[in-house]
Amino acid sequence: MVMKNPEYIIKLENVTAGYLITPPGIRSLIKTRYIVLKNINLSVNKSERIAIVGSSGSGKTTLLKVILGLLKPFSGRVFIYEYDIYRLPWRERVKILKKIGYVPQDPFKSLNPMLRVKDILREPLEAHVIRGYKESKIESKVKSIVKLVGLPEKVLEMYPEELSGGMRQRVLIARALVSEPEVLILDEPTSALDVSVQAQIINLINDIYEQFKPAILLVTHDLSIAQYIADRIIVIENKEIVEEGLIDNVLSNPQSHFMKMAVSSYKDNKNKLKLEF
């Protein structure tokens, strides 16, 4: 498969997505559509850092599922490079999707407890990259990626339950990076972590960006975290994108209900504590 080089890496055109649900009673014979996202247009360009914010249940995670090829939208098209992924055969789609690294929300539930860290990190290499990759090359790749995310090499022999929350999150980031993706998708990467560990992970994500310049798509409901990682912000409210722009502009002049509430709540907070940093 030859890839041309369009400006965007991911592009969504008029995507409407959701779930098929079974209503109660006699109506259960016909599944109905429950729409979670309506007319979403979005593009992620190379080396761009975007935060998708919105309150719980606004459809942020559903949007990620659509981008990751896990949920076919009811209508609209999802492009990764120039390929409409839901019109590709499964094998071809998987090849394209290796360009995306995904870091799920909960480090305590997202790692296979039966596998050692080294096997967790080998899986994407074996699945995606690269048949005929030499064993020694896989090993050196796994070692280098563990080092990159700031973990000691002895972690490779450990099981996830032997690791702290911060270390597990680093393993998840390493797993996403091991196949050298061009987009890194982070779903609430710090919500399950303590403040001190949260800061380590935010700094790690920024360091990785400085080093490899992948595009970053961050999903969060915490604006203070969005501000540390992203340049552009997209606000989802009532199933639609209601606000979009450079993060500093949106913070200084919020338009949507969510942003107005969030910004005023933070300002109140800061004023009450009279913080000066």
Binding site: V195, V197, S224, L251, V263, K272, F277
Partner: protein, 320 residues
Amino acid sequence: MVLAIVMENLKVGYIIEDEVFWAVKGVDLVVEEGTTLCIIGESGCGKSTLASAITGILPPYALTDGKLKLFDHVVINGQLRNYNGIRGKITAYIPQNPGTSLNPFLTVEEHFYYVLRSNFKSDREFSKKIAMEILPKVNLDSSVLEKYPHELSGGMQQRVIIALALATNAQILVADEPTSFIDAHLRLQIIELLGRLQREFKKTLIVITHDLLTTSTICDYIAIMYAGKIMEVGPREKVLRNPRHPYTKMLLETTPILGVKKRLKPIPGEPPSLGKEYQACLFLDRCPYKSKECYSDPQIQVIENSHFSKCWKALEAPWL
């Protein structure tokens, strides 16, 4: 001045695989009636165990030592524990996760009924009357009485839980991470609600949290807990603006604040294991200001009236 909570060298621990783990390693703390105290610390530092000790929901296999007094009642005296007439009447607990803390098979009205029946043997009519009085105080109308927990949003579930705690008329409320499962922009609303109710009903409120900035907006005092011990305690403004323990200072520097974009400074290393006994300062391995004297357990230093720190360098405070 009436003291609502007095802890004297309070220890709480568990036996895990024949080994004793002290989650709370000797806490001395006094809380005045009608004040709000925030206990702040990282996961695993013993905050929730301390909350369980105050509210009387320690598991039967927990070990205790020292003394815990709630108003005139000694509830923990060494190994002896007696929460008769305390649990639900003098203390009430606001749990961490509203989604899993409400019974999915009961309506909100039935929740009130069972809570009040277990404490005061009240009937359905009386519990409904109490519920209708309390719900408007937490900004909910009486239509939620007929609803099941899954029909409520996260914020509404949290308000119902707060209302249930208020319904018992307990004097001491302990809220364990009341905002951790709520969207960032709604956290302040819930915290302000707690603060308003505390002032209106003159309750003693203990808030357990690791969300230093949001939660501390309502508290009078802040206690910083680390590895089972209180490292610093004092009035809110003093602790936030004039931290006298390096851990407090580092916690402040590690917290992301909207509008401030400088690089965060994470605290290096990890907290010490709960299973070990240490002679040195518990923060020694992570402290950039350590010196010889830090290899012995620090004495409590009095900074000024009601501001204390458990650090040898609290008075000179080189981190300020």
